[in-house]
Amino acid sequence: MPISLEQARAAKESAKALLADLPGVVGVGITKVGEDYALKVNLRAPLPAGKAVPERIGDVPVRVEVVGRITKRG
């Protein structure tokens, strides 16, 4: 059974609490990995040594991407 949107949404809420202490998290959302809904964690810069985002939260896979600074596009 692929991971459902509901499972990913639930995981997102626990992820937000879990990631609150990590520096430079600039977004936590929902994406897809193959057929599975998954979490996407956006970072401003790579995490310092010793800090990491878990690869899964429950059964839900987590994709991490360094997206840099996000600025208004005006």
Binding site: V28, K40, G74
Partner: protein, 334 residues
């Protein structure tokens, strides 16, 4: 040739040549100097410029660039070649014009979706993008929809303040190009969770608008009813990058931390998009662009982005779902 020899030749040649060729150019002239004849005389006059080019490290030549094909086998070029002892590099380059300004950075009447617009800034000039047109309540009055930071200067622009098209950065006049007045905006709050960056400005009654045309993409076909999904293809036209195509990479993105003049503003429930092919989906100045889905339905309002990430490495763009924008402003698509 040595570099200083080429430079000396380049300096002295025009005066000598002008003497020899100006007489001939003037000789064909018969009547008085009306505007038209002055223009045609200009076309007949030798049109070239000189520079320095190099073949290898120390072998310099006189570069002769012709803007008129007729000069290619002319006495003028022969004379130049003689004086440069044959050490010339002659090329026809044609007329050189300043690169044309694209339509989305120019004045558009009727107003067009995707064109440059913005508030009147004091001390600097700016431009964002006109997203689309909306109506409020049962009134037939038309409003421009864009971002708070494009129409309301991040909460700082007064209600009733003038909006110009094109924006000041694109030469919009603070007087002649006023098209609308700021009506309302949703406050950007660095201390709270935000959902949208949006504002509306009421069109001045004399200003016409093309309500549904997204030039280069198609005709707006209403509002998308369901949420965007990962993989959905989207399009936009905006003031800086014009028409771009993209793909949704994430949705329901919370805690999107965006840098503004007023500080970092955090947004929940955002859409993330990457550009198609080798390009980004947006760049600075595209803020306020309406994002449509593959069936030309309004889906989101572009407001932020970065230069890293995405599968082509060209950065990611962030957008508010259009339903949240219209709800927050209590408006409907026109």
């Amino acid at each position: 040739m040595r570099l200083d020899s080429v430079r000396e030749l380049k300096q002295s040649l025009p005066a000598q040549l002008n003497k020899a060729f100006a007489v001939r150019a003037a000789a064909g002239r018969t009547t008085s100097l009306a505007v038209a004849s002055a223009a045609s005389l200009q076309r007949e006059a030798p049109s070239y410029f000189l520079g320095v080019s190099a073949r290898g490290k120390k072998n310099y030549r006189l570069a002769v660039r012709l803007q008129d094909r007729a000069l290619q086998k002319s006495d003028l070029v022969d004379q130049i070649a003689v004086r440069a002892k044959g050490e010339v590099d002659v090329r026809y380059v044609g007329r050189i014009r300043a690169r044309a300004t694209p339509w989305y950075r120019s004045k558009q009447r009727p107003l067009l979706i995707g064109s440059s617009t913005g508030f009147l800034a004091s001390g600097f000039i700016m431009a964002g993008t006109l997203g689309c047109f909306v109506r409020s309540g049962s009134s037939s009055a038309l409003y421009i929809l864009s971002n708070n930071h494009v129409l309301a200067d991040e909460n700082r622009y007064p209600k009733g303040g003038s909006i110009i098209q094109s924006g000041g950065l694109d030469g919009g006049s603070p007087t002649a190009d006023r098209v609308a007045k700021l009506t309302r905006f949703v406050r950007l709050d660095p201390a709270e969770t935000n959902l949208v960056d949006c504002a509306i400005a009421k069109l001045n009654s004399a200003i016409q608008a093309d309500l549904r045309k997204l030039r280069g993409i198609g005709t707006l076909a209403g509002q998308r009813s369901d949420d965007l999904e990962v993989g959905d293809v989207v399009h936009k036209v905006g003031r800086t990058t014009g028409v771009r195509h993209g793909r949704v990479t994430a949705f329901e993105l919370d805690g999107v931390a965006v840098e503004y003049d007023i500080g970092i503003v955090s947004f929940d429930d955002q859409i993330e998009i990457e550009g198609s092919g080798t390009r980004s989906f947006s760049d600075a100045g595209d803020s306020g662009s309406l994002i449509v889905d593959d069936q030309m339905r309004a889906a989101a309002l572009l407001f932020a982005g970065g230069d890293h990430g995405g599968s082509n490495g060209k950065g990611l763009t962030y957008a508010n779902p259009i339903a949240a924008v219209l709800k927050a402003l209590k408006v409907k698509l026109a």
